[in-house]
């Protein structure tokens, strides 16, 4: 049964990816902006332009170009980046771990802070503290991630220069990592100097990305907790002498977490999209930053590869969330 469910999800995922590939491929060749026009010389003749177009495989019909791309993509060859002159898959493999580290750190931050705020708000319900928590939460919710990023740059760059503003590691020393998974490798190799350096560089982009998500989690989870706290079983547990904190954590939380989990999954996909701007502002070398450069340079093979990577991430996150929600809600396990 489980195997069948997984197979079904994978098939749906493949169809989704195929659709994304077709839409992106067509759109990129239809929207304004010709990569050849950006690199032709002033003395180029029409023949020179045609030769350059053929050199980059952009001279065929839309259908023939797509057919060639699919043929190579099925072999794991996503082409060569026009602007970076390197294999697209290799480039994605190098930069994706940085974005995953950032996104994971932001998610962890959001879950911890948002969860704590929700629990504090639930425990403070019908007291003076509750509206204060709601107001702070509302403020965090109203400010988008890129505004947070600029505010953090101002605070930590100018007013209180405590944390590095750009990059993933200190550029003045060699981190000496052999894989692009710096966090994992630094821990496995007991390179705590690199580990802490990574944390310092990750701090500001994580805050920028994580604060809005934390506010969303706090709001939804607090609402669900308040609802759960009004149930009879919670009343019974209170009558049995259970403390308020234990009531929230042991009784109410596991019933309130389901909807929060589902929403967090959706918000996480937005967070991944948010890495594009955040990585740009903090000069963080992930796929988001690379995506902006690819779009500016109309690097078609790289843009296609990036969009597919984002699509795969979204699909995997959605599958993971569905399974987690089913895990917490037995009623959904047989659905």
């Amino acid at each position: 049964m489980i195997a069948l469910a997984i197979l079904r999800r994978l098939l749906v995922a493949l169809v989704t990816l195929a659709g994304v590939a077709i839409v992106v491929f067509v759109l990129l060749r239809v929207v304004p902006g010709d990569p050849i026009a950006m690199m032709i010389s002033p003395g180029a003749s029409q023949a020179d332009i045609a030769a350059l177009r053929a050199h980059y495989g952009l001279d065929g019909s839309l259908f023939s170009q797509f057919a060639v791309w699919v043929r190579y993509a099925l072999r794991g060859d996503f082409g060569t980046s026009i602007s970076l002159h390197r294999d697209v898959l290799a480039l994605l493999g190098e930069r994706l771990p940085a974005t995953l580290e950032l996104a994971t750190a932001a998610l962890e931050f959001a879950v911890i802070v948002g969860g704590a705020a929700a629990i504090a708000g639930a425990m403070a319900r019908r007291t003076w503290a509750e509206p204060v928590i709601d107001a702070v939460n509302g403020l965090l919710l109203a400010i988008p991630d890129f505004v947070w990023a600029l505010a953090l740059v101002l605070v930590f760059g100018v007013v209180w220069p405590l944390l590095p503003l750009t990059g993933r590691v200190d550029p003045s020393v060699s981190a000496g990592m052999t894989t692009p998974f710096y966090f994992v490798e630094s821990l496995l190799r007991l390179r705590f100097d690199v580990f802490f350096d990574l944390l310092k560089h990750l701090a500001l982009p994580t805050l920028a990305l994580g604060l809005p998500l934390a506010a969303v989690i706090a709001r939804v989870l607090k609402g669900a907790l308040n609802e759960a706290m009004a149930q009879d079983y919670v009343l019974l547990a209170r009558l049995k002498g259970m403390s308020e904190l234990r009531l929230v954590l042991q009784e109410a939380l596991r019933n309130a977490i389901g909807p929060t989990l589902a929403l967090t999954g959706v918000q996480f996909t937005f967070l991944i999209g948010g890495t594009v701007i955040i990585e740009r502002i903090f000069a963080y070398p992930g796929i988001g930053n690379m995506a902006i450069e690819a779009v500016i340079n109309r690097d078609l093979p790289l843009i296609q590869g990036l969009v597919l990577v984002f699509a795969v991430i979204f699909i995997l996150v959605n599958i993971a969330v569905d399974f987690l929600v089913a895990l917490f809600n037995p009623k959904l396990r047989h659905a």
Binding site: S83, G157, T166, A283
Partner: protein, 511 residues
């Protein structure tokens, strides 16, 4: 005995963790031997001869740090010996010769030979070359080597051939190494003969260079140079103000004025070989000379520079900036809104019955680009020109320009780091060039003979006459020459470069 509770232990651990986090390698200024530059663009590729990055003027500072150009260029754009110590043409300009500097080594210690120079030139000019400037490099061929002297035939006399050797894609690459590792291998580990070699590179993050121990020229002032790729202007301002970087460039003018007054920081803004202009396309209503000239005369360039750009700009009358070799100060297109209204009236237009067209512009691609066009549209409205502003990305501008589909007016910037009129007026205005917008036979007839003119004085005088004709006909609207704001720590000395390339070799500790 001191008893420590579980909570206290956890608190101590958290405190230790935070302390380690904040103190270990905390933000520190680079050491005395290290120069950290918060740079405004990324480095897409290490090949300085191939693809879009090769013709990006903003990246040349990095390429010039790692590689040598055939011919060097001083900060005032004059040519100086580089890998070539001497060069020239024969009397009838059918052959060219160049002398290769002896005892130059590549960064891997192997010798740089005339074979490397010939290979680089042949590769650049090859028929299937992806070098965007192959149309220049292909004008010479049949290279012969005799000791350190290279001779070649001029397949077509190109007066700017040696100037391009100090310009875009004019770099010597190592033949043996490149052929051994291939293009992708060269990207992963590039080798040049320049003052610095690549130590570590993280795309979209940083490039760390170490001084080349084999370098033939003066030892650079800094042992290590770090280019931090920080495309966001706000972050660049924060980088320099926090002390995380030692020098930065292309900050907003308002921030530049503020930063140069900050204790410990200095600033310099000097004209560079980059101009702002408005392309006019040969389509209605721009086929009417009165409309074109009125559009030019209605623009108060000085007011735009003074008020919008805080004085950081030089109004220009032609596509030649004052430092360019064909600059002619006698050519004037004065601000005269009254005359503009008269010209429009002669064509049946007035503020009540304005001539209408679209003007295209980028937004944020160049400093105050959109704001400048807004101001110009406002000036035009007063004389009887009503222009709609269309904002687009630079990629769309290139596409429209090469397909000759630009709007009647389109803002653009044009760099010319060798200061030669062919690379400004020539490419921007010659009809057959895919980069020109106003295509007209009368102008092509004047420009055509100048491409291969062998008499240098006649060539320059010819270009001056072309610029005068363009101004008389109103075929383009030159606006201003840009200034490049550079902010740096006060314990540094910076020599501004007119080409706009912030080369580390032009920065040194202030004594």
């Amino acid at each position: 005995m001191v008893e420590v509770t579980r909570r206290q232990t956890l608190a101590l651990g958290a405190g230790a963790f935070l302390t380690e986090l904040l103190l270990a390698g905390a933000v520190r200024a680079a050491g005395k031997d290290t120069l950290t530059i918060a740079y405004n663009v990324n480095l897409p590729s290490f090949d300085p001869t191939d693809g879009t990055s090769a013709v990006n003027p903003s990246i040349q500072a990095i390429y010039r740090s790692i590689f040598d150009q055939y011919i060097g260029q001083a900060p005032d754009l004059t040519l100086k010996p580089g890998i070539l110590t001497a060069w020239g043409w024969n009397d009838d300009k059918t052959k060219l010769w160049m002398d290769v500097r002896p005892d130059v080594k590549w960064q891997d210690g192997s010798p740089l030979t005339p074979e490397d120079v010939v290979w680089s030139l042949e590769r650049a000019g090859a028929k299937d070359s992806a070098n965007p400037i192959s149309f220049i490099w292909s004008t010479a061929g049949n290279y012969k080597i005799d000791g350190n002297r290279i001779t070649a035939d001029a397949i077509r006399f190109e007066p700017t051939f040696f100037m391009w050797m100090a310009f875009l894609t004019g770099y010597v690459l190592p033949k043996a190494y490149y052929e051994k590792v291939g293009a992708e291998g060269f990207e992963k580990k590039p080798i040049g003969s320049g003052p610095y070699m690549v130590d570590e590179y993280q795309g979209n993050a940083f490039l760390r260079l170490k001084a080349n121990p084999h370098y033939w020229g003066d030892k650079p002032a800094f042992e290590t140079v770090i280019f931090k790729f920080v495309p966001d202007a706000t972050t660049r301002v924060a980088e320099i103000e926090s002390g995380s970087s030692d020098i930065t460039l292309e900050v907003p003018y308002e921030e530049f004025d503020r930063l140069k007054k900050v204790k410990g920081l200095s600033g310099v803004a000097t004209p560079i070989s980059d101009i702002g202009m408005i392309f006019i396309t040969n389509k209605e209503p721009m086929l009417d000379k009165n409309v074109r000239l009125a559009a030019i005369m209605a623009i108060d360039k000085k007011a735009i520079v003074d008020r919008l750009l805080h004085g950081y700009g030089v109004p220009i009358e032609t596509l030649e900036a004052p430092e360019y070799s064909a600059f002619d100060p006698s050519i004037k297109t004065p601000y005269d809104p009254k005359k503009a209204m008269e010209l429009l009236a002669a064509s049946g237009y007035s503020p009540e019955k304005p001539v209408k067209f679209t003007i295209q512009t980028t937004r944020g691609f160049k400093p105050k680009d959109y704001e400048m066009i807004q101001a110009i549209v406002g000036m035009w409205r007063k004389v009887g020109i009503e222009a709609d502003i269309e904002v687009y990305e630079i990629a769309k501008h290139f596409e429209l320009r090469t397909t000759h589909k630009l709007a009647p007016a389109a803002f653009y910037n044009w760099g010319d780091a060798i200061g030669d009129p062919t690379t400004s007026t020539g490419f921007a205005m010659f009809g057959p060039s895919p980069h020109s917008a106003f295509k007209t036979d009368d102008l092509d007839a004047k420009i055509g003979p100048l491409w291969g003119e062998k008499d240098e004085k006649k060539r320059i005088d010819g270009w001056k006459a072309v610029d005068a004709y363009i101004a008389e006909q109103g075929y383009v609207i030159p606006l201003l020459q840009y200034l490049q704001p550079i902010v740096y720590k006060s314990d540094l000395k910076v020599t501004p470069n007119q080409s706009g390339a912030l080369q580390p070799t032009l920065v040194s500790p202030a004594t």
